[in-house]
Symmetry: D2
Subunit: 373 residues, 4 copies
């Protein structure tokens, strides 16, 4: 179903921007996992709006209430875990003529064409970025399970307004590169406001955001995510490989228009002798020496870090007049989006990408692990 | 399941490079469709090896035998359609030490890690490009069904060895651009050996391939695919949108490492005012004037052409010595790949991308059409 | 996933007997359906406990709160509909030693074996009859959609303590039988306390229940359900036929141990000449004259009424000492169940069977309708 | 999809009675299992027609050709296993007017209503009992895997023409009953022509079949199946429990109209004190002393034998005139079925029920095992 994903670990997301609540149901979490509710709330808070000068002033506590799936000891009990986030701070009045005039770049028109006017329009309905809240709840639970298995996931803003952050050290698989990657992951976990590895790049990104905001315009960017500790042999051939599962999931985040693994599009310009990752023996095990493949061959992990990059288009809600159409009269109309909006999706999207990658990786570990020997 | 995909139109692909046969089962084809077996064979032949100086000399007739799913009139009958392609021309001897020494860039090592040595090694087993044959059978059937609905799908080699073809005219949605795109699609349908729009670019690509081949090296590239005639309102929010479905499917083609829609990664550097597609009234209907979105917003079609690009890494089978590991002794080993191999995947991949896109689009039209009004 | 079902109309049920809430997410409801919340509450109330002398004294308002899936006009909007029922009246103290001593006939021991003690024990956890509340919410929505398509669903207690109700007139398909069946459905819709067609049989059933209750024992029984108005050609061959879908769903209701369609087990003693339903022309259409098949052949509807019967075992919570095992000490133990329990499941199960049948039929109509002509 | 089933072990069945071939694809067989092709052929041969005086004279070698999924050592390799059975002995001429006149009791009319005449009519098309051949191939593979896990599956004709066989000793779970059940399973494995435990009951069944055959009539019956060795804690709550999975699968066998587990419908007439299975300690483990539940509570196994019974309606192809309708003229018509047909399905269905149960149980063990401790 459209709002569900996963084979052995399945998440179903519900809610609309202005419905009474948003939430998720997570099926397949292994029983007996103690859930750290504080850590979960802290993770979810990373995507919450209202914390930063460049974001929407809408303040959402986003505190998830878990209404099922735990036993009296606070452990997962094998039954579906449901979490609810109440929508307390909705202001439908702001959305004026978008009820009949679709906002360029938003899903308004596509949803109208699909549901012939029955779609829930205010705030983007089910297409709203608000739905990434429950995704983070589900992903935060997956992260806790992964942590117990030695898997670590971290993302950063790799590019914003043309400004590039230091890349994650994941295209190499040498011990030195692995150590540098671990250091980058540590650094990103320190709670910095702008999730960039290079603080000075981060500052320039903030400036670019403030500048675009002052021009009533918006920005796109790239989020890069790495995962370490996923054992070799996880995943599947063909259509349920790690790349397939993650790509399907990542394109479910609003504004994502491109996904690449390892060298990705850059590999298209390489030769085989440049792009192949040779194998070597390390600690008695076979490992790829380099990691142009981003840790995945034939859909299955090689044991090297997973590396994925997602392109986000600029947020659609620009504050200038845009040509559109009044769908009730089928006449040209000019639209000016009001309301409270972010200038860029990529900053708040960083934990969302981590959440979605965690869900996909946990699902692969549960559904498509290496066969027992 | 890993080797299956689709919600309402489901394809299951089976076979290994050197198994007795490869094939597919297609479930969900609407009943009563007359299958043009000749057109199907012609489509499948476009990816068959052995036709060109740059390809593997392995000749595979690839003639599919349909063993179920048709009624005596040659129409689909509602039951699963199964097609078999016999493997007549296999030469296991060529694969020598790859049984214990994984080829860099191939899935050999990942499969060994997953199945602990039980995987079928010769020729790449289930990971072989040979499996794109049955995919083309299934996709060729989907293309016939789409044609009856006014949907057209065409791909080309957009880039090879850094040489770019003329892009498909699909980022604009003006009547003039639509007409130019139709002309490009006509041109690509003329059976040209090198599927490039610009014949001179195509010639330079061939030269680059021959040059890399003489250096025992291989090349990556980019395949671009457009589809027209998909009605607005097709698809779904979140995880079963057109992008999700196509991305999951396209990453199932061997060597694909990146997928982007519309402006894709380039959109990450644009501002909202540049990237938003305004709406206008045309023939009494609302249409996007431009098409930076590649025809998809919120996972749902806008009525503008679909546009997707796939990055292919260079083929892994380079003909030079490569460092690897003997997995039975867990010792370093040097590998030289023998056998018959293509120099690049992107040329033969063009019909495969068309096939996979056709399968995804047909599935979306059947599973997630606009609601009936 | 275990707690989800459906292909095009998917319901996911969450909650435990004593978790903060129970609820469901319904995906795939066609957009634009106005939901009658009052009718929904009335339907759900039919299964609510505490209304009758023979039931548990636990009073649950069971008023579902719909938190997503509706647009401001109260119509389905295409997004998942989520409904929450708060658990306000839980008394964990009643469940004493069942935490370590499994109740015979309950799922306690099986759940302990599966989840090694992490399962949520009090009140039966996710296995509780309480979870049929959200099922009725989902099924009540399906019933409203079906009503708009001319489909009617009605069930009754066909047998309880050996006392048989008048059977539904659905094994015949004559116009007279169809009229009598419609009359039976009207009668059952009048809100009678005991859902039996024959009031005197119903009275005797009540007496039998009160008698068993006074003996601290419990009773099983049979619920029979018919559906009219499902067009011929709905459903699928093999594993997604109407029988497959309904059987899978009905065995999800606690205590169901048998499911049969049409003549069911009795057909095993008939000859072909007795059991075949001949065809005749009626109003210019081909119809089966009789309906031993229960409206389904090859998994696909014939246009005659659907008829299904479900056997419910007696409720496990008898109020007498039973031999069991203390799982923490792995020693024999005697268990006496306390708490508030029904004497039989079949009375409250009547709307649950209607709900589950409605979900299955609506799913079949959406996922496996007759092909468009 | 209708012709597929399974979560972790998925079988897709293709073919029609008179299509070039029938077959199956099995996905999810654990890698490294050596397939005993001879044992597989012997199992499949048990359902093959033409061996007995009461059966259809159609002789089908039914030798499956495995075309993928094995490595050069004859072991499963992790890729989908596909098997083909060629249809060599088809005689379409026998089916005369059934092309326009549906046979009472067959799926002809329902299929016509669904596919508007595009269905494959001869021999029943995809609804033919012929499709149970590939099911037996898939189930035979599952049986080999289960055998390696200590799971045993055996079925018999429990009732035919009102004649009852000795029941399987599975409603008790005492060591003595377990031993008797093992003995019954041994006896049924001896290759007897009539799969009944009590040879004299078997002889009377044969006589009843020959008698009905001489009267051009057909018979229904009941097949009972038990499985031992399934560890406690296998399965799932709600909709993916053992009962749900098996019921969905068993209703996919042509002619099945009822399915019950343990006491089944008889439990509806018992009291809780009679039907509950008390627990006791045996060999340091908790086990149910009796087995009225048929080894399943809350969808999850208790460790006691699984017990399921399936009601088969009489075969529809009676050799006498039957009223029907000519669908092309929509006029009454008289139909006499010609061709070669069985007198009862239940004898040949015995290995089919074993196959389907094996597939369901293997799937549950792979998809829904007890959580790792």
């Amino acid at each position: 179903m459209p709002s569900s994903m996963g084979t052995a670990l399945r998440v179903t997301v519900f809610g609309q921007s202005h419905s009474p609540a948003v939430g998720c149901v997570v099926e397949g979490l292994p029983a007996g996992m103690r859930v750290d509710l504080e850590a979960l709330a802290a993770f979810v808070a990373r995507r919450a709006p209202g914390n930063d000068p460049w974001g929407t002033p809408r303040r959402e506590p986003d505190a998830p209430r878990i209404v099922s799936g735990l036993n009296p000891n606070g452990e997962t009990c094998g039954a579906p875990l449901a979490a609810i986030i109440e929508n307390t701070n909705t202001r439908s009045g702001d959305y004026g003529n978008i009820l009949s005039v679709p906002r360029p770049g938003h899903a308004d028109f596509a949803a109208w064409a699909k549901w012939h006017g029955a779609q829930d329009v205010p705030g983007g309905g089910h297409f709203s970025g608000r739905l990434t809240g429950p995704l983070c709840v589900a992903g935060g639970l997956a992260l806790q399970w992964l942590e117990g298995r030695g898997v670590r996931v971290a993302a950063h803003v790799a590019e914003l307004a043309g400004i590039e952050d230091e890349p994650l050290e994941a295209l190499d698989n040498s011990p030195a590169a692995n150590a540098r990657l671990a250091g980058q992951m540590d650094a990103l976990a320190d709670g910095r406001r702008m999730p960039a590895i290079d603080a000075s790049a981060g500052e320039r990104m903030v400036e670019a955001v403030m500048s675009a905001r002052s021009q009533r315009d918006t920005l796109g960017g790239i989020v890069e995510c790495a995962a370490t500790g996923v054992p070799a042999g996880t995943g599947s051939p063909m259509f349920d490989g790690i790349e397939n599962v993650l790509a399907r999931a990542l394109f479910g985040i609003p504004s994502v228009k491109g996904v690449e693994f390892g060298r990705g599009f850059a590999a298209a310009r390489l030769r085989g002798t440049q792009n192949n990752d040779p194998y070597e023996v390390r600690d008695g095990r076979c490992v790829p020496a380099t990691n142009n493949a981003g840790g995945i061959l034939g859909g299955i992990t090689t044991g090297a870090p997973l590396l994925v990059r997602c392109a986000f288009k600029p947020i659609s809600s620009v504050m200038v007049d845009q040509p559109s159409v009044d769908l009730t009269r089928m006449e040209p109309a000019t639209l000016r989006v009001h309301g409270r909006h972010d200038t860029t999706a990529v900053i708040r999207a960083v934990p969302v990408v981590e959440a979605v990658c965690a869900l996909g990786i946990a699902d692969a570990l549960l559904a498509w692990p290496a066969d027992p020997q």
